[in-house]
Amino acid sequence: MGSMNLKEWVKTLTFYELLLGMKATLSHLLKYKPITLQYPHEKKQLPSNYRGMLALLRYDDGTEKCVGCDLCEAACPSRVIRVVSAEVPEEPAKRYSKEYYMDMTRCLFCGLCVKACPVDALGMTQEYEWAVYDKRQLHLNKQQLLAIGDRNFPVREKRLEFQHPNVAYFNVGFKEIPQKDVE
């Protein structure tokens, strides 16, 4: 006890530590500036590389970019994606994803699928408001994913074969060739 000096006595009597702890609170009392975002009335400005909801994209002529290569499926660490690829009807030898599913309950938004895609058919949007009552609603099909892309990426790329002459024959269909027999 005797070792407690005067300075400490004063601090104890004036609740100095308490005041110190309350400093931020007290200063806000005097100098009010709101920090909490009033979500959903207010929304945050997202960085441009924000990794939000995934989407499938289209070329400027409205055709789907995805060539059904399954590489996103292979790249995905949490098995979100399932691609069922096939020949484009009426355009034999051209490959596309007949069905495309993403189970977004499992997605960790790592963006590896986007990186893996050879034709930039996948994009990460800035959408994040995807709370649902039934998580089955997070099992998205191709049409849903394309719709997400459509509403998020109004500016679309030119068709691949028009971009690089060296890939002129990459995934091109041939009308004069008969379709592969399915079932």
């Binding site: 290569c69 399954d70 590489l71 020949e87």
Partner: protein
Amino acid sequence: MPTPSTTTETVTLTIDGQTATVPKGTLVIEAARQVGVMVPHFCYHPKLTPDANCRMCLVEIEKMPRLQTSCSTQATEGMVVKSSSSVQAQEARKMVLDFILANHPLDCPVCDQGGRCDLQDFSHEYTATSSRFQELKRVFPKEYFSPLIETQMNRCVQCMRCVRYCDQIMDVKALAPTGRGTLTEIKAFGAHELDCEFCGGCVQICPVGAITSRLSMYEFRPWMLKRTDSVCGYCGDGCQITFQTKDNALIEINSTQGSGRNNGDLCARGYFGYHVSEHPDRLTLPLIRKGDEFQSVQWEEALELVGQQLLDVKAKYGADAIGGLISGRCTNEDIYVFQKFMRGVVGTNRIDSSARYGHLNGVHALQRVQGTHRWSVSFEDIESADTLLLVGTNITETNPITGLKVKEAVKRRGAKLITIEALNPAIGSISNIVNLAQQHLGVKPTGFSTAILGLLKAVVEQSILDAELQGKAPAYFNAISARLQALSWDAIFAQTGLASDLFTEAAQVFGQGKKVVVLVGPGVLRSEGGFGMTMNLMDLLLITGKLTNPGCGLAPLAEENNDQGAFEMGGTGAVLPGGTSLGDPAVRENLSKAWGRPIPDTPGSSLPQLIEDAQQGKLKALFVVGENPLASLPPSSGIHSALEKLDFLVCQELFLTETAQKAHVVLPACSYAEKDGTFTNTEGHIQSVRTAIDMVGESRPDWEIFSALSVMMNNPMEYGDVKEIGKEIRNLLPGTRTLGPAPLPAQPDSSAIARYVTTDYQRDIAPRYQLPVNDAATDEITLQVSQSLFHSGKFSRKAKGLLQVEATGKIYLHPEEAARRGISDGDMVKVSNSLGEVLTPVGLRERIPQGVATFPEHFDEEIRQLLPYKVDPETQVPYYKLARVHLKKVVGS
């Protein structure tokens, strides 16, 4: 094969610091592989002769100028080879890759080869991330190639493996390079879409994705596939196949180079015929007849009904009023349990299997003369034979892979080929074995027996006889020569159109052979007098002293995948497991001790007897497993009325076949892709069948159904799994069930031969050495209903891939024959004889002899009504493949 197998001399060389000792003449690339050094390559393939066109395999060899192609350089003593340790070689390979990639489309994302592509792998290995080339890539206009095989020539690295495979291995020559330099493109030979054997070999051997299967196109990525090694379920060759499945769906079939009896080669049925198991018509639930309709029921109900009915029939009419018929497509285990069920639980020996349709002729002939029920030769013996005799095989279409062994022997190892075939030497879309023949004796399908006698006569006249055996059994030799002398060459000429000197030449070639294999096919085994002809061929081998020589023997070809197993497992009434005789009380006693059940001592029955007894009302119930006699046998066999007379017909099937539609109960069985077990191939090689996909619907493996039925019938034969059955069979038949890479072929038993040449031959020598009566009217044509390369029985008609190659039946004629009758390709003709008349379109094929017409048996719904039916008096084999018919063009077609 570039690796010679005859020499035992070895050389020792160093490759990347490792020492390898290899037989002299081995290529450096192979020697490197043996010590685990993988030299990158495109154009080299162990099956093909080296072409050294891609320069990818360059290595540095000390004391040699420049880099050498390791795929065409033979290893020599003391050679020092540097592959990955040579900077120079590595640089050169990078350069080669750069040149290839200069024109390569980098289609990998949409290329079915992506993930298992040599070019991808090497590009990774040599990290080619940039190119010195900026020029535009070559682009080939895409053309339609074929219904089953797709090409993308932009991806071709021009290694010519496909072209060489199709020529060297298949002898089809359907592919050809056109254009020069980088603009070389692989096309179908001729200006039409690919029309070939569709063996899929070019797809398998292409190192990149330039040739791919259209059937599985875009359905998979290689890393998604689960591999299951199994055995093909179509023909008796018993090829190793690997099912590639994705989520329980069959995606494609491969065969691994160097494995199985087929060494990685397949035919169209094996490579493209895999969709049968997944056909939407598969039965998924047991069906019970209610009036004219079938009702789906649960297994318990169906089994109870079958068990009760069988017991009722047995109680009322005796066990012998029940018969059984099982398909040679079932596994050994299925067939074994079936015959045990019929003999031990039902209590009758009245069972038969599809081995009866012809294979039994071969097996019985082998058993009778040399005392074995298996070949005394193997596929290896065929490859290393110096003389081969093919009789009525049409080998390309019936047993394509055995055919490859013959091609290997003739084309690569210089064997001499004698053919007695109903084929003309002619170039066609599929290979034609008689094109390779040194001595071709072309006859009509009715002329085989005369031609065999002609060859025997020439042999005797030339005295190409085994003096030692002649000394021991002079009576046998005299009996044969006397009978052959009684035949005149003129009569032989009249029936075969072949003069005596042709037979003499063939006999000389045959006599000079040291390693002689005689292959017998359905043309002999399934046509009238089949057993006699096979016996005569045994005589031929015997009197020339070949039969007992190592590497020599008779090889009857099995048409269905497990015909041989059906016989060995006791699937043919009078034969118990192991090929032993039912008539032998000691054998019966042993077996009933092992089974713990009495074995009835009543005689076994053949299918023709079952039919006859059913017609007479003596057979009341029939249990048909995987067989479809209504569609296999012609109406003249009486099968329709026989089945109608039955009180109870059970069919255990994959599909609602013609026979199943008449059944009272139909039980759904599993296909070979859904069960475990073993098949025995035509040379007696037992191989494992493994489960690749889940059982379809409620279908069950056949053995499981028999086992469940036995429980219902209060006489349980319980098995936990297939392995238990396999073990039981192995214990029962020691020595006959070696499951392994290369079983030793059976050895001819000298006591059996001695018995045959002293007394047994006398039994039927007179009818065998007579010319058949030839009563053909001049404008009649011999119709042969025969096997097509693209189908197998009626079963393969459920395979969508095969249907794309051949979907309907046509009557095929030689173009000149057709022209003479004013018929052209595609015309409708009326085919008629005393049994009926049928309308069918015509196709033309140069390989068909004049005076002959063929029709694929797989589409014979209509035409089989024209087929007369005869039963072999000795082996009870039903003959119904040949008919004499008139052809008339239908005007207005």
